[in-house]
Point group: C2
């Protein structure tokens, strides 16, 4: 309810600079700044401090002094534009202006090392020449520096502290810290990513120390992972850090695995770091809101914070070129509304990144309106993207180890039940071997290499005519697709009557046999060996294919070979082609890659003749929604792309089968002509 | 923010009756009441009607005239107590009092039949003698009646209409209709369950007709299923009906399957009825809030209502003897806060049930405070109960057929993939048969009855010594427990390396063989035949056990038999005991029932000697959290109850195995002594 708009005028003026309340001018050695007021939470009941304002803000244009001579997206106007739009929309007059001040050394040292403090403060004495000379060094850290940088960084951190303490004192219920430079990338020992001090982390530590608010939720919706904040509380169960960010396998800033969904904290803090790592750009309101509904709010229900701090970057906003996402102002309003329900409404919003001035202004206005009590706008009907849905599911499963309100529960560790458990791959392998023998008379192909036996034993079969038949289909695939419904979420129990194994090879094998082609059938799904997880980078599939090529295919009568890959088998096929290019070119007439939604494997870049051959003789079967259709470069490295109008990978090979059969028949007939020439 | 408390005083007085604005006195034939003001939404922009109030309410003490001479929990004070507490807490003076009036006949007929309208209005002419004479009839409908009933019921419906239209006109943003009698059980053609007209349904129809608000979410948190409301919109996709209620297999009022999770609407309305049916009493804040987070809010995101109406019964509140649940005022506040974020904040709260005056007053106050803009109170750390977690999971899976924001996705219909699919039970059965033969030399027992062959073929095995061994263990169980992790939520794919089959029989079979006992192993999980689902009431397990008893066990040399049931096998064992009591008593030395979390099967009540025998010779193995420990009556019908300190059913039989083995050995040794005697 924005009804407070009818209250008497605000006690603060409207001029911009006139509102800066931080006394001292920029001063590099300013760690002797006037000390922050000491607060003993118990001595200051909220009722005594009740005033007309429910919401406060901190702001100072002095933080605009930190700027880059060459221009930079982390520009001074980021905060003035937010200030201006809030002012123009009559928000500021409903908010109490809170004092801003520099962070104290002892406050910063709650998070940072003395060395970092000294390093940042020393920037004050930089000359223009120093700046020019150190540009490369700072570029590597994604930083620019200026003699006023320490002052601005100290004010930024001090501003978030004051906003947080005002909420802790009950002086205001909520507060918005309109500050820069941002803080969430700043690690205990390093400044990086436009960040010098970790404003939010320091404020959280200070408020824990100085008030009764102990359990803090830091919600970081900046499009980048807040590595610094997560690091500051990695082993600390009193601060729950939740981040939504672009991750892309660790290839989005700040890069590496720290922002992955399995990076969940350590020691006592295990489970108190929650990463929701988007696998791609383009996420929007539905994706963010659904992550809040299904992960963040259920965890918050279980954690019950005393205070919520939003690390509010606005670089996931529609229009931000760095973030390339599509969160609307209304989307930010809804997220703010959800977080407002926590901690009895005690909420601090602290600006982090966000580089499109229009977008951050509109987003900050929407957030502020909700903070002031307005209802968020009605959104159109929204559904989350498939990528977001999968990510939310996987994070939920991962975090269900630590949070009872999340599911599905992950399976029990195998060890405890070993005496009566049978691994599913073993069971399916036995089934498949039995099926191939009974239905097609296919025989197990022995492997003579210990590492391959350990991983692929009983996973390779051939038709009995393999030595004599001159046409051979080599079919590399993984296990059938086991589709199940879970009956119970607590015990991972399968609703067996609604569950089935899809064996995509069945139809191809039956057809090949009828046509009189020999088949070498390879299940490239490696057994976990030893019990640790296999790294996906290890090319065991390629290794088994090369082994079979050298020790079987090359010894058979087959002079006309078609290679068929399905799912992960496609990479194994491509690995074989790359490693045995010469003999493959001699005997392989065609390649079929039923990639489904997997990445389309690419030909080795350094062998143009192989690439041309592959272009001329391969077909790639993908569903109509495959990303390759947005990637003309990869498209050119393949021959025919069969775009099948079917989004479910499971049905792809069925729908594509007539085309695949036609291609293979064609290749084998042409081959015999070519063979004669 | 409740800052509007500082505004000038409200234009309405505080006296109770003085605020009744409905002119005419009670009048049974009152369908000629003054017509409601006609509203054309387009002609009345919200801005023209803007006033000092964001929130309105309707109330009239005239609705208290409907009362029961014998006293009744649906008592007149239900509304006055709410009125009083809102008044005492300064809420009413921040709210606009909206006019109340009687529902018009043509409005009621948008939902109800003319016959029902006439039936209710005719109550006006009831004499005391009529009331006494018809008591049994109305009791059957869970109703009481009074000559003023039609007037009160018309006011109640008219009040909800006026509250809703005030929101639709933009006159207020939110409104609370403090009305009775309630409405949500009233069906189009029948009054029932304390309800005469379906207030909320009528209001929804009227507002759709008279305003631009077309997509309406009715959220029914009354502890009973709102059968009448669901019926009114069952085939209507413009009104999304969501209900949380005690269901208990259809055994809680209003009973039957209409409130089940598979009752999802029909025709165009399929997917627009969402039932969250609690399987037991005792649900609390965490259960309700998690249902909101994981089901209701994701569906609402996808539906995007123009208006939200809460069918706000407060009988799930802590302290309500009918509801026996534990929702706190803070819990209601949080649910209200979540719903406030929808439809741009357009919300109507309409009272339904709730019978503890203190509880409804406190709950209504908490809801009203949030409606007025206050933040909900901080809740302690909360986790949902296991029963609620399972229900939420199952509803989510069911509704994922209709709502993209929900998961897990249910498996594709089998038919489309039949050519390449293998049902999981078939696969597991083949595995088990193979395993029993390879490991224990066990043989398939042929079944000679067509219905049994259809359902249990290849599911019965025995050790080769069954005809000659005088000790026999009959082991009835279902398939092994398949525990899986899902890799992809979109395609139900199993993360096979983390998945395994738990075959609880392994250890028992190995041990029995080593001890020299013969074993008859029966998988009582019936194959679906024909493809329709089996009804759980059909005792196929019992039938196959009796068949095996008559045709095999009775013909063997075994004179000392122990029956072992596991999971659903326990019921099959009990069915055998009941059907073949005489011969069972002669040869069975002991019974082991590893029931896990299933219901403990009970002995036939009409055969005391059998019950005594069972009491003396059976052990029941249950986890420490089994409900039997709250049920001393059932406890007494069993012998030893093994309470195993293990909540996971999957591990129960492992932990219990030493005890089970000791019991069986003991029985077999005693038996030989007894046999000699």
């Amino acid at each position: 309810m924005a009804s407070s708009s009818r209250s008497s005028g605000p006690p603060v003026g409207l001029g911009q600079d006139s509102m800066d309340v931080d006394g001292p001018a920029p001063n590099g050695s300013a760690n002797d700044a006037s000390p922050a007021p000491r607060l003993r939470a118990s001595s200051m009941p909220a009722t005594l401090r009740a005033n007309a304002y429910h919401v406060g803000y901190v702001y100072s244009s002095k933080m605009m002094s930190h700027s880059c001579v060459h221009g930079h997206c982390e520009q001074p106007e980021r905060i003035s534009r937010i200030f201006d739009i809030l002012n123009q929309n009559d928000c500021l007059k409903k908010m109490k202006r809170l004092p801003i001040r520099r962070v104290l050394r002892e406050e910063a040292l709650l998070v940072h090392s003395q060395a970092l403090w000294d390093k940042v403060l020393a920037l004050h004495s930089l000359t223009d020449q120093d700046i020019a000379d150190s540009e490369a060094y700072y570029n590597d850290l994604s930083l620019y520096v200026h003699p006023t940088t320490p002052y601005a960084a100290q004010l930024s951190a001090g501003g978030v502290i004051e906003a947080t303490l005002a909420v802790a004192r009950g002086e205001v219920k909520k507060a918005f810290a309109i500050v820069r430079p941002p803080g969430h990338h700043a690690e205990p020992d390093e400044h990086m990513g436009f960040c010098f001090f970790n404003n939010v982390s320091i404020a959280a530590k200070v408020v824990q120390l100085k008030s009764t608010l102990k359990r803090i939720l830091i919600l970081d919706w900046d499009v980048h992972h807040g590595n610094g904040t997560q690091r500051a509380f990695y082993d600390d169960p009193s601060v729950l850090y939740i981040s939504l960010h672009r991750y892309e396998g660790g290839n989005f800033y700040p890069n590496g695995p720290f922002g992955s969904m399995t990076s969940c904290g350590e020691g006592a803090g295990l489970g108190y770091s929650v990463n929701i790592p988007w696998p791609e750009k383009g996420m929007g309101d539905a994706d963010y809101i659904l992550a809040f509904q299904k992960i963040i709010m259920p965890i918050a229900l279980e954690f019950s914070p005393d205070l919520v701090i939003i690390s509010a970057g606005f670089d996931a906003a529609e229009g931000d070129d760095l973030g390339e996402c599509h969160v609307s102002p209304a989307g930010y309003a809804h997220m703010t509304h959800m977080l407002s329900s926590l901690a009895g409404g005690k909420l601090v919003v602290a600006l982090e990144g966000g580089y499109c001035l229009d977008a951050i202004a509109a987003s900050a206005l929407a957030v502020t309106r909700v903070v002031l009590g307005e209802m968020p706008p009605q959104l159109p009907p929204l559904t989350a993207s498939e990528a977001a849905t999968e990510t939310i599911w996987q994070v939920s499963a991962e975090q269900s180890k630590y949070w009872k309100n999340l599911d599905p529960k992950v399976c029990e560790p195998m060890e405890e039940l070993e005496q009566i458990a049978i691994s599913l791959p073993e069971l399916l392998k036995a089934h498949r071997q039995d099926y191939l023998f009974r239905t097609h008379g296919m025989l197990e192909v022995p492997l003579m290499s210990v590492p391959l036996i350990e991983r692929f034993n009983a996973q390779v079969s051939c038709t009995p005519d393999i030595m004599d038949n001159d046409t051979l289909i080599v079919f590399a695939h993984e296990f059938g697709n086991l589709a199940v419904e879970l009956d119970s979420v607590m015990f991972c129990n399968v609703r067996q009557e609604h569950s089935y194994l899809i064996d995509c090879s069945k139809e191809l094998l039956t057809w090949a046999k009828a046509e009189g082609y020999a088949v070498l059938d390879v299940n490239v799904y490696p057994k976990p060996f030893p019990k640790s997880k296999l790294k996906h980078t290890d090319d065991y599939g390629g290794a088994v294919m090369v082994y079979l090529w050298d020790n079987y295919v090359q010894l058979t009568a087959a002079r006309r070979v078609v290679l068929v890959g399905h799912g992960p088998g496609c990479n194994a096929i491509m690995s074989l082609i790359a490693q045995r290019a010469a003999s493959v070119l001699k005997t392989v007439e065609g390649v079929v890659q039923v990639v489904g939604l997997h990445n389309v494997p690419t030909t080795p870049p350094n062998t143009p003749s192989l690439r041309q051959w592959y272009f001329d003789n391969s077909i790639v079967v993908v569903p109509s929604n495959h990303p390759i259709f947005h990637d003309s470069k990869t498209m050119k490295k393949h021959g025919q792309v069969f775009r099948i109008d079917e989004e479910k990978p499971i049905k792809l090979i069925i729908k594509a089968m007539p085309g695949i059969q036609g291609f293979i028949k064609d290749k084998f007939s042409n081959a015999s002509v070519n063979g004669d020439a």
